[in-house]
């Protein structure tokens, strides 16, 4: 590993676990919501990917 030129912050390294857990819940909730919507036939408006020219198949969701 290359030594860092800045302090990554001990707290910042610890808090990532919590932030990831919360993000996980949110993403799960969104997936469920998305599924319900697709069953009801409501389509989410999808924003064009700004890098899409080089990678048309990529799906970040």
């Amino acid at each position: 590993m290359i030594p860092l030129y800045f302090d990554p912050g001990t707290g910042a390294l610890i808090v990532q676990f919590l932030a990831a857990a919360v993000a996980g819940v949110l993403l799960f909730y969104r997936t469920v919501l998305h599924k319900i919507k697709s069953i009801l036939g409501i389509k989410d408006k999808k924003e064009d990917d700004f890098m899409d020219e080089t990678d048309p198949t990529e799906d970040h969701k």
Partner: protein, 456 residues
Amino acid sequence: MESKRNTSSFRDPSGYVFIEDDSVKRVVNHIYFEQYNQLTSSGFYQLLFDKKYLVSHQEVSRTDSEIIIEASKIPFINYPYEWSFLQYKHAALLTLKIQKLCLENNFTLKDASAFNITFHEGKPIFIDTLSFDFYQENNPWLAYKQFVMHFLGPLVLTKYFGQDHLKTLALHLEGISLQKLSNLLPLKSYWSPILLTNIHLLAKYDKKYESDKKKVNNNLSKASQIKLLDGLYDYILNLSVNEKTEWDHYYNQINYNEVAYQVKKEFVKDWFSSIKGKSLIDIGGNDGTFSRELKELADFMIVADVDANAVEQNYKQILKNKEKSILPIVVDVLNPVANYGFNNQERFSFIDRVEEANLDAGLALAVIHHITLSGNIPFSLSAQFFSKMAPNLLIEFPTRADSWVQFLLDSKREFKSHFDFYNEENFENEYAVYFEIVHKVKIDSSERILYSLKRR
């Protein structure tokens, strides 16, 4: 052969950038050899080049102590404090995309500075080739705090308090401090789970462990880190700012005479062909309407405007039309970006970078009356400014009979007589110090004159 170390490249011990004979080269130090070799042989660098995520490079030479690579040259390095909201967002999203791709290939970004990204050919691109390191199983993201200080912080401040906060990094080159960020945000931001964890809780923990430099390993699986990245990605993707600005939808607002408008467009085209220009800077270019007329002729055009919304509209058109030659940036002519950082040599001023770019032409349509009458800038000083932009200048001069000029003069009230100098004759005399007048034409059915000027 002239070789000069880039004065902004000193933070990272892995290597540094230098300029040699007009090309951009980078020294890779011995401590980074293992990473560099693996990034090259695994094809990860190539993958990043193919996706246009990272500026491409070629290896030039190799010794036991250093490797030298040459990077493709970017004509005008632009900084975070020159981006519109959407550009800033996309720079943040690109950083997250790269980190996710890194993890999938067992690498990680070791820093997430917003200065690692610049806009080139209509898109953000990562320009720090040595920012990658090996991923250690279950290690948290070391650059996470920096990402929040450089990207999430300014974006969220902008969401709540407007686009002035896009310039946060001009004041805080190392990013906004977490404590300050958390204190500034309104109480309702605590209701957002993403902001609660990634800003407020982060600030709290950061303070709590401030003096504790213990090692934190193995607390975050790769899958969890990807969730963290996806959560941030999703939040930033859906961020919006709702702020009306003065020059928003300019060309819909103004009551331009259609004939005069067409004449102006044709004149701009003829002028640019006549000087055989390839590159241009459009000062006060709004959403790029006039520069777009030159798309077939020019290779590179900077469209600068003070209004972040106008710049954003320009950027949206660039995305939609996949335009590569236009670079939209936010520039306040009355206060252009200065030289910042150590020795004043770390981030370069707007004027220094324009001069360095050696552009063929400058375009200044419908701006001189604002500079002169709103900014109180004398003709002699604005002439000096424009002479630094390019050797050829097309400038539009609205005469005193123009309705805009009258409006601006009237808003001066008792001070109005101070601006009696605002007329064609004085303009020509003062500009003649820096330029010769090549061509002068009055736009029919308007009170405006177009001057084609050549620098002395």
